[in-house]
Amino acid sequence: MIELILPAIVSCIVAFFVVFALTPPLIKFLEKRNFVVKDINKKEGVMIARPGGISIIAGIIASEIVLYTFLQLNEILAITITTFAAFLIGYVDDRRVMGGWFKPVALAIAAIPIIVFGVYDSDLAFPIFGTVQIPVLYLGLIIFMIPITGNIINSIDVLNGVASGFTVIASFSLSICLFVMQNYEIAIISLPLGFVSLAFYKYHKIPSKIFPGDSGALTLGAMYGAIAIVGDVEIIAAVALLPAVINSFLFLSSVKRIVEHRQVKGKPVEHTNDFKLKATDDKTAPVTLVRLILAGGPLTEKQVGFAIFKLAIFSGILAIITTFLMGVYS
């Protein structure tokens, strides 16, 4: 444990400061090249630089290289390669409009390094009751997990700062759970995800100066999923991600097919005269987490964001309770 403290500190510093230092010049670069999109939730219709995934992946790769120099674990390679593949898939989607099936299928392929490096345990651990051995089925779980976590984080990237802020809370909750389970090496490998998200949140929070884009959201989600598999904390990771899971569940159960948000015609949310967010009465619009939060009345974008963060903290606490329940049978 003691020998892991130095790599942990150095990798977290590298993760935070690479993103912190790289994002401002990236914003200038993207603005100069007109890689900007309209922020639809601002009255003035300001244009925001995108994609910020470039600085996010730079921070992740730099910090994981630091960790690999110290620890030389195949787990680090598998997580980093899967995350980088997810970034590339997201970047393609940022530059060209791809079909609804592109990301799930491509992200399933991105999960292959985890299988190739053999850095998984095919026993699925559940709280209270113990583990179930599913050697064949587990391979399917790996293939499904990365597209699910990637798209779940992507689907919650709807307001300023939400995707990065939510990932900060979920990933630090997951790191705490890994420390509680005494899985110290994977806990340390997971820490850069939280610090990269935290540094990016500084520029993504309301009013955003940059959007992560699909490349950023898929990078964060795929790394989260890869850590869950490699750390053997799939169920705990799912619990920490529950508000975003609910968002995807509500969306899919209302549109009843896998579809890109931009392909949905009905608007779930509209603006009041003072530019607060308000749930619509449109029956063709999908039900989303934001729409449900707004069902009580109009709120500002910042208030909706904080409501999502409170839900994330609540599910983070449930994840930590789940971790302690894992110890019941051991």
Binding site: I128, I134, I293, G296
Partner: protein
């Protein structure tokens, strides 16, 4: 509405715990004999089919729960 969301989160968590219990205590111990070297393969297929049915049942329960919680909240 927000209290409904916390309730829905908590219900999902309970369903995850219950689902884990069913998987570990009922589905996990299932073993098949009489098919020689295919025993494990056939057992895996049966487990996969039951697991998929369970997932579908869980999704239906969540849909009903969602409608019940949020309709109740909107009415109040």
């Amino acid at each position: 509405m927000k209290s409904g969301l916390y309730g829905f989160l908590f219900a999902m968590w309970i369903l995850i715990l219950l689902g884990g219990g069913i998987l570990v205590t009922i589905l996990g111990p299932i073993s098949i004999s009489g098919f020689g070297q295919f025993n494990m393969f056939i057992a895996s297929i049966i487990k996969a089919i039951i697991a998929i049915i369970l997932v579908v049942i869980w999704i239906l329960i969540l849909s009903k729960l969602k409608n019940w919680i949020f309709r109740k909240e909107i009415k109040s």
